[in-house]
């Protein structure tokens, strides 16, 4: 650039930011100055080259979203909806619910609501006894080759327990009827206490009987499964033995053939 021109004017002229007298004066200078004309042309070329530089096109995936708590707002990445509430605490809570449900199923907890209010009861009721696991098991019982004596004994025990439970239930019902009538007739505190004690004792006896019945059922299931497994294992061993014996016989036959052949040679 020549000494007479001003670089500020050249830049202004380059970007069309020079007007009026200043523009006219600069153009007058350009007409007589090849050096400045060359520089202006070179600058225009550089500007054209600059337009070839384009940034890559990214994926703009961020947006501002409202923060549900405390009114704060932040930029957050997109997270699956289930991950937002599935915290360790939620996992523990879900596990606890499952355990409670399983325990309730095992204990046969029943909750009823009637005129007397809410009632919580464990063990099988009279209605539930009709479709209890023991009956279902008897319907699909299998004849196993071994331990028939044990099973027969268990069957007798279970029948005896069921009879006891049934008798106890009848006694309890009869006692309740008589107790109610006695209470209404005399209504003395001692008698009420006596009736309550009797009811508690009967309930305890009934629950013990039902618990023993269930334990016996579990033992029977486990034993049946064990016997079935043992049978399968024995059958498998028998097949292996037969195969090994066959192979041994074949080997012996082959060896005797080799021996005979070598003797003949």
């Amino acid at each position: 650039m020549c000494n007479q021109a001003d670089k500020v004017d050249l830049v202004s002229y380059l970007y069309d930011d020079l007007a009026g007298a200043a523009r006219a004066a600069f153009e007058q200078h350009l007409r007589g100055c090849a050096e400045c004309r060359d520089e202006l042309e070179a600058m225009r070329t550089v500007r054209a080259d600059l337009l070839t530089w384009t940034p890559p096109e990214p994926e703009f995936a961020f947006r501002l979203i409202a923060e549900p708590r405390a009114g704060g707002r932040v930029l957050r990445p997109q997270v699956p909806a289930w991950r937002r509430w599935f915290t360790p605490a939620a996992a523990f809570a879900a596990a606890a619910v499952l355990v409670l449900a399983a325990a309730a199923g095992l204990a046969r907890i029943e909750v009823h609501h009637g005129p007397d209010g809410w009632t919580l009861r464990t063990g099988s009721s009279a209605d539930a006894a009709a479709d209890s696991p023991r009956v279902a098991f008897a319907a699909r019982d299998v004849n196993l080759p071994a331990d028939d004596g044990v099973f027969a004994a268990l069957e007798r025990r279970i029948s005896a327990l069921e009879t006891t439970v049934h008798d106890t239930r009848n006694v309890r019902n009869a006692s309740m009827v008589s107790a109610v009538s006695a209470v209404s007739a005399r209504a003395s505190n001692e008698e009420i206490l006596k009736v309550v004690r009797e009811l508690l004792a009967q309930s305890e006896t009934r629950q013990k009987g039902e618990l023993a019945l269930r334990i016996a059922q579990v033992i029977r299931d486990v034993d049946a499964q064990r016997v079935a497994d043992l049978n399968r294992v024995q059958q498998g061993i028998g097949r292996i033995d037969a195969t090994v014996a066959d192979e041994a016989a074949a080997h012996r036959e082959l060896m005797s053939y080799f021996l005979t052949s070598s003797k003949q040679k």
Binding site: V46, R47, W53, P55, A66
Partner: protein
């Protein structure tokens, strides 16, 4: 008819998140381009872009409309770019363009040629990127704001807190350096 920046800013200041997101969508590309051309790294430019809008949102209550919203955004982005350059403590960009293997290029070079010259021959845009990277920060910023974002000299002067003549001088110096650099690349 789409709302103006000023209208969207006013609604955003009133708590309208959608309005601010419209501003984000409107300005994310220019802000990203500014960051990319300033610091030269795609991932970092994206981070700067996102951080720009975050800071803008947090400071939105204090924005009184003294300047255009876009100028305000540019200023935030430029400050973040400046922080990035200082943090990295190195000259920005100066990295090989994508798809260019420096080892292959080095094996082709003769003693009189530089790697930059060979890259420049492949694509003029890459040469511009490299040349821009070698400019001093203030010259590069002035060129980017003028050439790629079309700001007026006065807007640039306001944004960079310097006289208008200084902006023009920086542009002249920067374009002169680029001219020499690109002349070498074109050989």
């Amino acid at each position: 008819m789409s709302s103006t920046d000023e209208e969207l800013v006013a609604r955003s200041q009133g708590g309208d998140m959608d309005s601010f997101n419209q501003l984000v969508m409107r300005w994310e590309r220019p802000i990203y381009a500014l960051a990319y051309r300033t610091i030269g790294r795609e991932e970092d430019a994206r981070d700067v872009c996102q951080e720009t809008f975050l800071r803008a949102f947090r400071a939105l209550k204090g924005f009184k409309g003294q300047a255009k919203f876009s100028s305000w955004l540019y200023r935030i982005a430029l400050n973040l770019c400046r922080d990035w350059v200082r943090r990295e403590r190195r000259q920005p960009v100066a990295q090989a363009p994508e798809g260019v293997d420096l080892f292959d290029l080095a094996s082709e070079t003769t003693p009189s040629e530089s790697i930059e010259d060979l890259v420049a021959r492949q694509e003029i845009g890459r040469a511009v990127a490299r040349a821009m990277a070698q400019l001093p920060e203030e010259q590069r910023t002035a060129i980017i704001l003028k050439e790629y974002h079309g700001l007026t000299f006065q807007e640039i002067a306001d944004m960079l807190d310097c006289p208008l003549s200084t902006v023009k001088t920086r542009l002249y110096q920067g374009l002169s350096v680029l001219r020499r650099q690109l002349d070498r690349s074109h050989v």
